[in-house]
Symmetry: C2
Subunit: 174 residues, 2 copies
């Protein structure tokens, strides 16, 4: 089994001093590591009922595109407010300072849809929790969440504890 | 053959009055149309030497992710300035009013690399032309450009005339 963590590049002080940024672009550039990541996410999806894949802007789109193509289901983009052109449903969530709002097209999810949500990174879990709320408000079910990386030292477990999650790489500390 | 154009939704007055926005999210949501789009882009890539796929932020990531996965090559994200954490090379280009800057990681493309560039939409061609310049400044070759949609009434042909382009859906007028 390929060691996916070794394909991640850690960059100190980005985007600001004291933060170690986990750079996934080195993994994307490595066909073996990228393929293995998609294989494992695909395996997770295969064990669940997946009517649609949700990709979270913007790095989540890379993995969501590959997964939707492999599984043969539709892809739903969840984006920052103001970017989707049709009628949307929005969800606001708290950040460390202030708040953020994400949106999904109002006709993208139908009652009874079972979805898997895909992103690159689970940090505070705020965006993912807001996405789960959007799905459920629209009558859908979250069959699972998958991400390349999770930062287990951040309190995302509190927010996403009730969901079935596959993360491929875990960082226990900065 | 599936009529991909019928899977696109046209939304008047977005993002501002007088603009008809071509919304690709309805195509993404339709597994047959999305699969057919990836099939055709994949066929285009198969006829060329593709060492790496470049995806342009952010909707380009969806198609680039699926193509890199199918072909089994690495994916390089081209992003707006300030978003890539490593050392970057940047390219500035003119917009109708003002300018924009895109970046790529400096170590993403090696001398002699042959790449296909993927985006959702060709409008003025400014971002794609800037991406081609980045590739060539780094010693790479643009084997082709593929996009879901092109707006043939905008002057992108002047900017991208020298490149081999596959667009799947053409709009001749607003």
């Amino acid at each position: 089994m390929i060691d996916l963590k070794s394909a991640i590049r850690s960059i100190p002080d980005f985007p600001k001093e004291g933060i170690i940024f986990r750079d996934i672009t080195t993994l994307l550039l490595d066909p073996e590591a990228f393929g293995e990541a998609i294989n494992r996410m695909h395996e997770f999806c295969r064990k669940r009922k997946v009517d649609k894949i949700i990709g979270i802007e913007s790095r989540g789109f890379i993995f969501a595109g590959a997964l939707a193509d492999r599984i043969g289901v539709g892809l739903i983009p969840v984006r920052k407010a103001g970017k989707l052109p049709g009628d949307t449903i929005e969800q606001t969530y708290d950040l460390e300072y202030g708040s953020a709002t994400i949106e999904v097209h109002a006709d993208a999810i139908s009652e009874g849809d079972s979805v898997v949500i895909v992103d690159d990174l689970i940090a505070t879990g705020g965006t993912l929790e807001a996405t789960c709320k959007l799905v459920e408000r629209m009558g859908g079910t979250v069959a699972g969440i998958t991400a390349l990386i999770d930062l287990s030292y951040l309190p995302w477990h509190n927010r996403l504890g009730g969901y079935d999650i596959l993360s491929l790489i875990t960082y226990d500390s900065e």
